[in-house]
């Protein structure tokens, strides 16, 4: 057992060498936002998609664009609007007058990194088209089914303000995102640095340091990260505490939760914790990994009651209480 762990550790150390290169290259362009960059990598390595909530101007698009250029992979940005159609996203059949035949025109979803900007501005049928592609990792146009390229990461953004004329993502759809990030403003020093960088004549750019092949190799290494049964039980305890809080001495939040986290939460928390351990260059998962990523995995999977809403208690407050109550192994 000991030898295996050593081997895994060595492998992880080797495979995760590029993590520092990526963060340092992205850091040339993006100031701060370490939390967001780290989560983007976790999404990329754990095969999970990310829902990002934050006000405009927080470098969301730039971060994904920079990440795409650093790993030398495809990037597409799709601005979701009320008149967007599923075909605009996944592609359609075009009639060729010369041949007299229909040919497939693939949509922007056929890329490695897809930024679905303001996903809640489009109606449900467009959202469903994207979310289905995310889940199945394949798209059917006409009679043909096309696999999406690997790695494939969708980063969807939502604006927490301006809810008028939007189509909020249904809870069942939100559950398909591995992580939901809440991006905040940079601090004073970071903002000063951003201001200086972006007002120079030469806009900084990042070099390509990793190939998609490296990412795919890293993805398989992430699956090998060791997770002890104690940690697995810790994850199960956390998820179950959102469903049956009373069983975990959380009587005070029993009335606040309408629906607890789904089994997808346990799966994604495990995968994300493994990816977190990987980017920390560790071959095994610790409670630290689970705690670090727990909020991002759970905040969109818990539906609070009207009573909680009336008391201005959010799903985040509930997750915080759960994480602070469950004993670490």
């Amino acid at each position: 057992m000991n030898i295996d762990i050593q081997a895994i550790n060595e492998k992880i150390q080797k495979e995760s060498e590029f993590v520092e290169k990526i963060t340092s290259e992205v850091g040339k362009v993006i100031v701060g936002q370490k939390y967001m960059i780290e989560r983007l990598l976790i999404g990329l390595l754990a095969d999970g998609h990310i829902l990002l909530e934050g006000v405009p101007g927080l470098a969301k698009t730039m971060a994904v664009k920079t990440l795409a250029s650093v790993i030398r992979t495809g990037f597409q940005r799709i601005q979701f609007t009320p008149d967007l159609l599923p075909a605009d996203l996944i592609g359609t059949m075009i009639y060729d007058q010369h041949d007299g035949k229909f040919s497939v025109k693939k949509g922007p979803v056929f890329s490695n990194l897809v930024l679905a900007d303001e996903i809640n501005r489009s109606p449900a049928k467009v959202q469903s088209a994207l979310l289905e592609a995310m889940q199945e990792r394949q798209v059917t146009i006409g009679d043909e089914t096309f696999a999406l390229p690997a790695p494939f990461l969708v980063l969807a953004t939502q604006n927490p303000i301006e809810q008028e004329g939007t189509y909020p993502l249904p809870e069942a759809q939100v559950d398909r995102f591995m992580l939901k990030l809440s991006v905040g403003y940079p601090d004073r020093d970071e903002e000063l640095e951003i201001m200086r960088r972006m007002t120079r004549s030469e806009i900084p750019s990042a070099d390509s340091v990793v190939t998609p092949k490296d990412i795919l190799k890293a993805k398989s290494a992430v699956h090998e990260v060791y997770i002890d049964p104690k940690i697995e039980n810790y994850i199960i305890d956390i998820v179950f505490a959102t469903r049956k809080p009373k069983d975990y001495g959380l009587d005070d939040i029993e009335e606040l939760i309408a629906y607890g986290a789904s089994p997808r939460a346990s799966i994604n928390l495990t995968l994300a914790a493994k990816a977190h351990a990987f980017i920390r260059r560790r071959g095994f998962v610790t409670p630290e990994d689970v705690r670090s990523i727990g909020m991002d995995v759970l905040r969109h999977r818990i539906i609070v009651t009207y009573e909680a809403e009336a008391e201005e208690i959010t799903a985040e407050d509930v997750v915080r209480k759960v994480l602070n109550k469950i004993e670490v192994p």
Binding site: M1, D4, N9, T286, N324, I326
Partner: protein, 326 residues
């Protein structure tokens, strides 16, 4: 002639009994005015009576003027069907109503039913003499019917139920009392234990627990399990001594909290080393080395001893000393 006499008799009877027909109310009144001056009424206090209870039958005569205005002749007890008289009484009184004197003579009979069904009080004929003209008159009451119903349970007839309830209540009270007493005793014992424990310094308690947690000399020592036990013991001590979330926080968070508490740097670094080492063994699936376990044991033991001597808190001790000097 016969017809004329019969007709006169009927008219006489009708004039004598010019009363409305009774309803089955509890009070039935038969009133017959003679010259508009004397009234007779008969009533029962209830229209239904249980077999084992009694009903009151009251006959009342009243007129305007003094008592000696009329002479009421002695009359027989009323004829009864399915009733028997158990008591009777009479009373005379004079009242002043709206400025005029009113004389009242009252006869009351207490009747006991004999069997279930209907009971009847037959009409009563009362004769009296008007002392003014020395003429004799008659008055008759109507027949009154009373329904005799099933007997009511007599108090004490089902006393055993009451006894059972009483005994049940008593048993519950005794059980509650015993439980309360036991609870109080247990609480007292717990308090005593707490007081006894409080008198022993926390560090000494944990030094004892440390000995019990891991026996380093045991040949069956499970090193991996030993790391988990020592880690938990150390976290419990930190939680109790320094009020950190010892069991709920991750190692990193515990170390950060300890740093924020201005504790001795060496203690914090040794604690961090112990917890991190334990985490490594616990979560990497490794068995761990006995020498590492011995080192962790020694570090915890020495930290507890230092804490006992008050050598862990570097900032909090200073103001206390200053105060003592002052």
């Amino acid at each position: 002639m016969k017809v004329l006499r019969f007709s006169l008799f009927v008219v006489f009877i009708l004039s004598l009994q010019a009363v409305p027909s009774f309803s089955q109310d509890s009070t039935k009144v038969a009133a017959l005015p003679t010259g508009g001056e004397i009234r007779l009424s008969a009533s029962v206090d209830q229209t239904q009576v249980p077999l084992n209870r009694t009903v009151s039958f009251t006959v009342q005569l009243q007129w305007t003027g003094d008592l000696d205005k009329y002479e009421i002749h002695q009359f027989d007890n009323p004829l009864l069907e399915n009733f028997e008289i158990v008591e009777n009484s009479s009373a005379n009184r004079v009242a002043n109503v709206n400025g005029e004197t009113r004389a009242i003579q009252e006869y009351e009979y207490t009747l006991k039913p004999k069997s279930l069904g209907m009971g009847y009080v037959e009409g009563l004929i009362i004769t009296y003499t008007d002392m003014g003209n020395d003429k004799e008159y008659r008055l008759t009451t109507n027949r009154i019917d009373v329904k005799v119903t099933d007997p009511l349970p007599e108090p004490g007839s089902k006393s055993w139920i009451l006894w059972v309830i009483l005994i049940f209540v008593l048993v519950i009270v005794v059980v509650i009392f015993i439980r309360q007493a036991a609870k109080k005793k247990a609480e007292k014992k717990r308090q005593a234990e707490l007081e006894a424990a409080a008198s022993v310094p926390l560090e000494e308690q944990y030094l004892e627990k440390l000995k019990d947690a891991v026996d380093l000399s045991s040949p069956d020592l499970n090193v991996g399990d030993g790391f988990a036990r020592l880690s938990r013991l150390l976290r419990l001590f930190l939680a109790e001594k320094f009020h950190v979330a010892g069991l709920e926080a991750t190692t990193e968070d515990v170390i950060t909290e300890l740093h924020n508490k201005d504790l001795d740097d060496r203690f914090v670094s040794e604690t961090a080393e112990s917890l991190k080492k334990a985490d490594l063994i616990k979560f990497s699936g490794g068995a761990g080395e006995k020498s590492d376990l011995e080192r962790m044991y020694t570090l915890i033991e020495s930290s507890l001893q230092k804490s006992l001597r008050g050598e862990l808190v570097k900032v909090l001790d200073t103001p206390q000393e200053e105060t003592e000097e002052k």
